[in-house]
């Protein structure tokens, strides 16, 4: 389609900023300023270029677009294969959107080691975008795993008091899952002689028992990333200790890697195992939705509360992905995007308070509406979006998932829906505690409302949330063809396996 390698450009452009940050020299003030500007500039340019993807994306095609295929390690038959389809398109955009927002939000908040901070975020962006574009298992793994390095440093260097613990827990948990996935990838490579994902989608046809083992290996990696109950415990720690922008990326993009992995690899490559393990996933997801919502109700830390709410929301995502009909998968994807925007915004809201008071304990705040009307509005807006108020983004995803689920399994739909109810309870409770009531605490008497930079940070997120809620077709249409193919391929694979097992 396009003659120039736009995906590679988007993936590696942030490294230009990294290079600039590395070579820039001079007095500390100037270096910090230059690094901030350079990082913002590169990430904004990257975002603008990535918009071209959306503009030039052919919504009628189910396959991969903007493909680039080069030799990388011919000796092992590993290629550099990039491309996007309806599933990955918006994740790329989400990554490129959130990076400049993160950089802008930490403009004043990060004062130490600014250079390293900016480098870490730009490298992170490269890995995130590359992960969503990769169409080769080895390449996918390189990006998937590479994300750990900058994220480990971001939590560990700029995090809170227990940052070391949180950083190690994050790293080791995710690594443990990922290495098992590496073995699964190697097994697929051994069977096929190539690590090309489209080839694997076409040709991979493993016996059932093998599929189960591989599914579990992929599951180990993606379930930790999503995170699903009971391997979610790293998330609250990581969120609480990470700096604001770290939480934003963590909630906005990193969690989506798990859901994306399920849809990109587990389901198309291992359909029979997917069918076999789907009830397990439903069970874990339902527990996640209800249990973590209840846990969220008793949190004393804002970030922890939002972290638990993320686990609950991602439970809806995994249900949708494994119900595997048109509505549920689209809903699952939509829910991931919506969660990516909304939870990112909620963490930014917490960050606004943290920058002023240097704490995210709920008890410290109260009655902020009197001093911070603009902030109260933004926080209300995203709280409602997170609950799933019709007209905002959260509603569409949850509705589609529940609709699709209801057709297949009413009990799962019913239990998942209770989670939404609980979600409203804790989110509104949090809002009530922080924003409403009398402003009695002396420490808050002089608190300032959002400044212009902060408004600029939130504005795009508000607009996107509205857009997704009011006219979701802009987002659903590009997904439709790909999701249709995914579901269709899955159904025919199951049918084929079924007839094969019936045959004498």
């Amino acid at each position: 389609m396009s003659s120039w390698p736009i995906l590679s450009l988007i993936t590696f452009l942030p490294l230009v900023g990294v290079f600039f940050c590395l070579v820039v020299n001079g007095p500390k003030e100037a270096v910090d300023r230059n690094c901030r500007s350079a990082a913002l500039l590169t990430s904004v340019v990257t975002f603008l270029i990535s918009l071209l993807l959306w503009a030039r994306f052919d919504v009628t095609k189910a396959g991969f677009q903007f493909e680039v295929k080069l030799d990388w390690v011919p000796a092992l038959n590993i290629g550099y294969h990039m491309g996007i389809d309806g599933i990955s398109l918006f994740f790329v955009l989400l990554s490129t959107l959130l990076t400049p927002i993160c950089i802008l939000s930490s403009w004043d908040a990060v004062r130490v080691r600014v250079k390293e901070y900016m480098i870490a975020f730009l490298v992170l962006e490269t890995f995130m975008v590359g992960m969503f574009c990769a169409l080769d298992l080895a390449l996918f793994y390189v990006f998937f795993e590479g994300v750990l390095i900058p994220m480990f440093l971001i939590i560990g260097i700029w995090g809170g008091d227990r940052r070391v613990y949180a950083a190690f827990k994050f790293f080791l948990y995710t690594l443990l899952g990922s290495v098992l996935m590496l073995l699964a990838i190697i097994t697929i490579y051994w069977q096929l002689g190539t690590t090309d994902i489209p080839t694997a989608m076409e040709k991979l046809n493993l016996p059932f028992i093998w599929q189960c083992w591989l599914f579990l290996a992929f599951f180990a990696s993606f379930a930790v990333k999503v995170p699903m109950w009971p391997v979610h415990t790293w998330l609250p720690d990581a969120h609480v200790e990470a700096p604001t922008a770290g939480s934003v990326i963590l909630a906005g993009v990193l969690l989506k890697m798990g859901g994306y992995g399920f849809l990109r690899l587990s389901i198309p490559l291992l359909p029979e195992a997917t069918q076999y393990f789907a009830p397990l996933i439903f069970g874990l997801s339902v527990v996640a939705v209800i249990y973590t919502s209840l846990v969220a109700l008793v949190q004393e830390d804002m970030k922890k509360l939002i972290a638990y709410s993320s686990v609950a929301h991602m439970g809806i995502v995994t249900i949708g992905a494994f119900i595997l009909n048109m509505q549920s998968v689209q809903g699952s994807l939509f829910q991931m995007l919506s969660h990516g925007v909304v939870s990112a915004a909620l963490f930014l809201c917490v960050g606004v308070l943290y920058d002023r008071m240097h704490t995210h304990e709920i008890a410290v705040f109260g009655g902020l509406v009197h001093r911070m009307p603009r902030y109260a509005f933004v926080f209300m807006f995203f709280t409602l979006a997170s609950i799933g108020l019709p007209g905002l983004s959260g509603f569409i995803g949850e509705f589609l998932v529940l609709l699709g689920t209801f057709k297949v399994n009413t009990w799962v739909a019913f239990l998942a829906a209770t989670g939404l109810f609980l979600g409203a309870a804790y989110a509104l409770w949090l809002y009530r505690k922080i924003i409403f009531g009398e402003l009695t605490k002396n420490s808050l008497k002089a608190i300032l409302d959002m400044n212009r930079r902060e408004v600029v940070v939130f504005l795009p997120l508000v607009l996107i949330t509205l857009w997704m809620g009011i006219y979701p077709n802009s987002f659903l249409d590009p997904m439709a063809a790909t999701v249709d193919k995914l579901v269709g391929d899955y159904q025919s694979a199951i049918k084929l396996a079924h007839t094969a097992s019936l045959a004498p």
């Binding site: 390690v73 790293f171 690594l175 290495v179 590496l182 190697i186």
Partner: protein
Amino acid sequence: MMLGLESWTLARPELFLAAATALLLIYGVVRGEVATPFVSIATTLALLVTAVLLFVPYREGTAFASLFIVDRLTTTMKALVLVGSAIAILMSRAYFERIKAWRFEYPLLVALATLGMMLMISANDLMSLYVGLELQSLALYVIAAFQRDSIRSTEAGVKYFVLGSVASGMLLFGASLVYGFCGGTAFVQISRALIEGRGGELGVIIGLVFVVAGLAFKVSAVPFHMWTPDVYEGAPTPVTALFAVAAKIAAMSLMVSVLMGPFKPLFVQWQQIVVVASVLSMGLGAFAALRQQNFKRLMAYSSIGNVGYVLLGLASGSEKGIQSVVFYLAIYLVMTMGVFAVILMMKRRNVMVENIADLAGLARSEPMMAIALLIFMFSLAGIPPLAGFWGKLYIFIAAVEARLYVPAVLGVLASVVASYYYLRIVKVMYFDEPAEALDRPAFSINRAVAFAAAILVAVFSLAPQPLSLVAAAAAKGLFP
């Protein structure tokens, strides 16, 4: 016995190195201490020239009545060893000058050890194997104790000597059994005897076990690893670097050529031993290192763990497996050299320090050094996109293809545990508040080595192809 010209041309690099070392030794003895700078530089050059001679012109074949073999595999391994030794000599100077022990004997002993390594890599007979091994070991025993007035260094030397002799004894005993049952010491004879059905005899199996045990000692695989932490910690740091890199690669290469050569018919038997040693090494390397405070000791356990991965590649016994061994060792060489270059730069108030806690806050006081070490640590932990990941990937591909599923799973799990202590170093450098800063290293060879290695490791992902081609060509040597 006819020793034609062919033999001499095949052994050209070894002969050159032997002659150069002998001449430089005479020169050093005649001139005394003043000869040291010249001898060290000349020895480094001699090693590099030897490396060039390996390839220009490239020859293959057997020499000296089949005592000596040259093929792609041995040539590649020798090149790695020579580069490792040459860099080790370059890195030594500042260290020994500081402790006033910079003597001309040191580079010459390194050269002699290297010569021994080359001979054992090229061994094609149990006799030449043993001669090469002993030449290497004797030189290494001496340089482990080279810091004569340090108790730790002499202790390391003695320990290495005593335990090394025991291992040599075991190897020799095993070799004699094999000789007795197979009727020859030449690799071809052993191989032929085994194929003809001698393989089932108990004596051969016992002999094999002893040979493998002796070799496992030399590569410091569990359960023959006990000497490694003490010797690595006690020996002068540049010597530790030599042990960790050149000596290990040479011993590993020897193990490959013995097991994949004459004992190939007994693959099923030795595979069990190697798999067990591999899993135990990976596990011990991961768990025992968790609580180490001394960086050199940590690297000892790290090297034990790395040997475990290499052995896993060997245990697959396939062409891919041997490729992965070569591939892994080349990457291991670069990473480990880099780490030791950084350790050699760790000085506080002009005194060498080697505790992990001494690195606290390095990211602020010496950001470039910290970044280099960060790259090495993530690479040793096997995190992509750094070079170490590719080494592990190659090994695990070979292991899975050989259906060694359980060892492969244990291996990746061990690598997660091991990543903890690599991360701990990153944590100390980046997350902890600075302790008293280390001395600012002036420009030095060590700095250059560290940066060059860091850059190689960091950008390796751009082009893993050339190294995999080298590995593929090397493995062809055993699978003609």
